[in-house]
Symmetry: C2
Subunit: 164 residues, 2 copies
Amino acid sequence: MSEQSGLLIREATPGDIGLILTLIKELAEYEKLTHTLFATQESMNEALFGERPVAEALVAYYDDEPAGYAIYFHSMSTFLGRAGLYLEDIYVRPHLRGKGIGKTLFSIVANIAVERKCGRMEWQVLRWNQPAIDFYEAHGAEPLDGWLTMRLTGESLSKLAKNS
Amino acid sequence: MSEQSGLLIREATPGDIGLILTLIKELAEYEKLTHTLFATQESMNEALFGERPVAEALVAYYDDEPAGYAIYFHSMSTFLGRAGLYLEDIYVRPHLRGKGIGKTLFSIVANIAVERKCGRMEWQVLRWNQPAIDFYEAHGAEPLDGWLTMRLTGESLSKLAKNS
């Protein structure tokens, strides 16, 4: 998919699940969110390569060393009236940063969005992660400050579901 | 799907696209976002009922009058390692509010999330829309204040894609 000066980026295969889980764990550590990490080999395999896949993944290697990954899925915008692309994760291992790996991963995902005629690409970033926000803004991304994300999970979700 | 005291909620069919577009326009007016509305009959039909549907829709009728709709799609959480459900829109016409229509729509979507083993349900709300935030919080939803949504669209998206 991309091969330049030691960098190889390709679509993930089932054989990459172990690597992706390792990298997700590293990302969770960086984000101080390991207490929210419940992904397993089985659940990730089901989500990416099961009967009804819900996301797609890219893996990056630098000089044959696993360097990072991106996971994305299709969203939809009713105002645009068409699909969008949601970037769930993009991650480059700390000791391999500054080599353009993140930029290339980001560009490839944008290219997939354009090729599939998605109206936009969206993702979320932790508000304290200013280096990431700067990186995204440098590429023309805009923060949606007026919107608040809400989440329903666990017992509250079950309870609401039971009322239907 | 749900029929109680004059309220009928069912899955949308291609014949509902015109109605859904009318309601999306009303929602855009309420949100002061009509300048961002580009959905058409064709694009909505493609998104909901095309070769590769990206979202699903429910429509609500109250005493045979079109009353509201919900549109949702599957997201994925890498930390949970499984699918989630993203509620793109939920809307009830102003003169039909206060009858439990929104609550029932919301519960049905939560039930779909639980039945499909989604780890969570997420959506976005305008920060100035306090009545909506109160409604969601009353049902156990939590605001993700620490996260910022970023969006890349138009020429910035095309430019980044070309660099891949």
